[in-house]
């Protein structure tokens, strides 16, 4: 299930103290979800006792972040039938591997983002994903074409 910045913000101290280096708690919340900031960088949350309950709730909320890749992608293999829709619709695959995955076949490129292994979707090289890195695009082509919700992104 995706986590929204608002959910994170609600559990932060909301003092805009800037100790984390961000101007506002909201900005910090965004960066936490995008994994550009660690929740531990909000020092008041961890040092001041009055935030203990909020901190615990927040850590629980952010638990899925650990499973997700650097692009916020989570694949639930249990739900995947290996239809490969995601592999074929991926714009990166289509442009870098037009005669392989772009044409419906198993990927022929060196290190594709995705590949079917043992009948289910495996993430091979998330660095190629358009959601990766500084100039990322919040592309959702793969998730949009997964009818069994095997693919999700933390940010929604």
């Amino acid at each position: 299930m995706p986590i929204t910045p608002m959910e994170v913000y609600k559990l932060l101290p909301k003092t805009n103290c800037k100790k984390c280096g961000e101007q506002t708690c909201m900005a910090f919340a965004f960066k936490v979800i995008n994994r550009e900031k660690q929740i531990e960088e909000c020092t008041p949350l961890f040092q001041e006792e009055k935030y203990t309950r909020q901190k615990e709730k927040l850590l629980e909320l952010l638990e899925p972040l650990k499973e997700a890749t650097e692009t916020g992608l989570i694949v639930d293999e249990e739900k995947c039938t290996g239809c490969a829709n995601c592999i074929v619709v991926c714009p990166v695959h289509a442009s870098e591997d037009p005669y392989g995955s772009g044409s419906g076949f198993g990927p022929k490129m060196e290190d594709p983002i995705y590949r079917l292994e043992d009948g289910v979707l495996r993430i091979i090289n998330v660095k190629k994903c358009r959601r990766y890195g500084k100039n990322r695009i919040l592309c959702v082509a793969c998730r949009e074409n997964c009818p069994s919700d095997a693919i999700s992104f933390l940010e929604g």
Partner: protein, 405 residues
């Protein structure tokens, strides 16, 4: 690269890794397909006589005796075995003046027959990938039955004239009684029509084509027809839901396709699961002019010669079941009668029918342990490229059974 003989897609881009003599890793196959490779060693059939383990040679002898002494034999199944094995089974049926039938009688044999008789125009998946614009899935949920159908062959891949991807270059129409996983894919540039009566929807298309307002889906039907004209090349994949929805009367389907073709090209391809069902239909058609439920004694095909009818009417004293498990797939009130006659099962895996058979003969898994040819649902012939070779396969068993006739 290997071919997956799990369903009628016959995907030919499967790669495997082998460790200690078995498949340890499978690439590019769907869940179902990969499972067949990875579970090669699971639940394998053992030779059996009257439910007890037996020596293979003794079991062969038992099967030979049953077939030799039968006065009225039916051979059934055959949709998961190669053309080469099917040919031997047809030869055996001919020599024994037996009945022969396959799953297509209650599956999509009617559609294949209409195509072979040229009652409806059909095309190949390659042509679909390169040309098709409006793609119908009618009464079928390929996400589960033919998992890579949309990604490898129809809606998603770029090919030929369709280079811009599904969002611009395809139009998806899914018709079903429920919102299937495939139906959920019908988003932008697509329609999902929740169908109660297939006939009513077909009547709607015909009405719209004849300039009348359709009684159902008043907005969707004219839009889809407009898209079809724009695309010029369109295809309907019909599944079991469509077959059973029409209750055996295909006149309206034929009329609709004929009328649609007056405006733009429309082809029909069966969306069936069995990997080589079409192969059996084509072989029998070439030989007899019929696709299934055939009696070599009567030299004709008839509903009376359908496998379940033969069992119900007590017309057969022995059944040779090859690569099929009627106790799993046929209404049990018919299939249970296999316990009362001399049933021989030839299958690579343990089956429910095997439990009630007089003789069980193990076989090999087509595409993994045995080569040969199959014909996909679109009529394309594909050579299997097995990972291993196993001496005892369907062809070998059938040759042994033919020895005594």
């Amino acid at each position: 690269m290997h071919v997956c003989a799990g369903c009628s897609c016959l995907c030919d881009d499967i790669e495997v890794e082998i460790r200690d003599g078995s498949v340890s890793k499978v690439y590019n196959a769907c869940r179902r397909g990969a499972g067949i490779f990875l579970n090669t060693g699971s639940s394998r059939a053992e030779p059996k006589i009257d439910g007890d383990n037996a020596d293979f040679e003794k079991a062969v002898k038992g099967a030979q005796e049953i077939i030799q002494s039968s006065d009225s034999l039916v051979i059934y199944g055959l949709d998961t075995v190669t053309l080469e094995a099917q040919e031997l089974a047809i030869k055996l049926a001919e020599k024994k003046e037996a009945y022969i039938d396959d799953n297509s009688t209650f599956c999509l044999g009617d559609f294949v027959e209409m195509i072979l008789r040229k009652d409806i125009p059909s095309t190949t998946l390659e042509e679909v990938k390169n040309n098709a614009y409006v793609i119908f899935y009618w009464g079928t949920d390929p996400y589960h039955s033919l998992s890579r159908h949309l990604s490898r062959y129809t809606y998603y891949p770029r090919g030929g004239k369709r280079q811009r991807g599904y969002e611009e270059d395809r139009f998806l129409v899914v018709l079903d009684v429920r919102k299937t996983h495939t139906a959920k894919l019908a988003k932008k540039n697509a329609r999902f029509l929740k169908v109660d009566s297939d006939e009513e929807v077909m009547r709607g298309f015909i009405d719209a084509l004849e300039g009348r307002s359709p009684k159902v889906f008043q907005k969707d039907i004219p839009r889809i027809l407009k898209e079809m004209e724009k695309g010029g090349f369109n295809v309907i994949f019909g599944g079991l839901g469509l077959k059973y929805g029409l209750k055996g009367d295909y006149s309206i389907l034929k009329e609709m396709i004929r009328k649609m073709n007056e405006r733009s090209e429309v082809y029909f391809i069966p969306a069936g699961c069995h990997p080589n069902m079409r192969g059996f239909n084509e072989l029998l058609f070439e030989k007899t002019g019929y696709v299934n439920k055939y009696s070599f004694k009567d030299q004709t095909s008839s509903d009376e010669f359908a496998f379940h009818r033969l069992l119900e009417d007590g017309k057969v004293d022995a059944a040779l079941i090859i690569g099929s498990d009627p106790l799993n797939s046929l209404p049990l009130q018919y299939a249970r009668k296999l316990a009362d006659i001399n049933t021989v099962v030839v299958d690579p895996r343990e089956t429910f029918t095997g439990k009630i058979a007089k003789v069980v003969l193990p076989s090999s898994i087509a595409g993994i342990e045995g080569g040969g040819t199959m014909i996909g649902a679109d009529g394309t012939r594909i050579r299997l490229k097995p990972v291993f070779e196993r001496e005892i396969n369907d062809e070998y068993v059938l040759k042994r059974l033919l020895e005594v006739i």
